[in-house]
Symmetry: C2
Subunit: 191 residues, 2 copies
């Protein structure tokens, strides 16, 4: 039994919480009123918008040490919808890993719309959670939860692949915002 803490009870945080419950593991979902509660999970999902991550890290200083920290953000410049707000050769995940040197930081879920996590499929394909990170154990622990919940998980490689996952997330959000795809669809991974 793995305890997963999810910070941010929005659409994505709630969908990931349901996924963890379906996997048979336990979950705590922490909102704005829970800033006084320390995180208890071995895996912590930062399910807040990119702009809120630095604040959460500052507020909960030290609480993420030794834990797997999952970054799900898409650092899209929503004012222009024409670029990401992170360094062109970097990623939000790289920034978070630098801010949390005593955590195992992984990227995941940023290429999955919330609805596809809940419905378990994208079109006829099982929803696939793409994961990137430098710690194999951290990635395997997260992948186990995903697969136990009936979804698919694919390890895309090192933390540097977060750059491409964020590009994919950005592209997918742009297509949905432009009504080229539905928020219930997007990129399915055909093995």
């Amino acid at each position: 039994m793995t305890q997963v803490s999810i910070i941010g009870p929005g659409a994505m945080g709630s969908a990931i919480a349901d996924l963890v419950r379906r996997s048979g593991n336990s979950v705590e979902l922490l909102g704005r009123d829970d800033t006084g509660k320390p995180v208890t999970g071995d895996i912590v999902v930062l399910a807040v918008p990119y702009g809120g991550v630095a604040g959460v890290i500052a507020q909960r200083e030290g609480q993420f040490d030794g834990k797997v920290v999952v970054d799900i953000t898409n650092p899209v410049d929503f004012s222009t919808m024409d670029s990401l707000t992170v360094a062109a050769d970097g990623s939000a995940t790289a920034e978070i890993a630098e801010a949390l040197p005593r955590s195992q930081v992984v990227k995941a879920f940023n290429t999955n719309f919330a609805a596809t996590l809940s419905q378990g499929s994208v079109g006829e394909q099982p929803t696939t959670v793409l994961i990137a990170g430098d710690d194999a154990g951290a990635k395997a622990a997260l992948a186990q939860i995903v697969t136990d919940a009936g979804l698919r998980a694919v390890d895309t490689g090192s933390l540097s692949r977060a750059r491409e996952l964020e590009a994919l997330g950005f592209l997918q959000i742009g297509l949905a915002a432009g009504e080229k795809i539905a928020w219930t669809g997007g990129f399915a991974v055909v093995a």
Copy 2:
């Protein structure tokens, strides 16, 4: 009837040539022995590896003026499989557009494995050709050929979206090279 010239008779060039034939348009496929033949198409597909593009442009100076030029490349550093070889905030397409200021340059096909162009599907979904470029007419002309061939085409936006399409292409090639997906599969677009 649109005439499409394809430079590079490899797996991708041949698959795109078949697609053009299926669309009811005409195609010429130019190989290494055809460097003396000028391109005759209104649309020219550069179906050579990224490293070969500059040579083709130099060799055929002026022949692309006024034409739609389609860049299908994935400028992956194949020695490391860990990055692209273009500027982090740029793309191969941006480089080609700079080299061909009198052409309408679009990105397309780089997120489609050759087999998925031939089979017309990725899993249960019709194969979707993602297109990016600054000239709406050029994108529409290419999209018409793709849809007339029975595939789907999605306009992903301006030429700057080529950066994300190249990130997606890189990710997909890495997953196939790592045997996480098959070369007959990859990312399907669920509308």
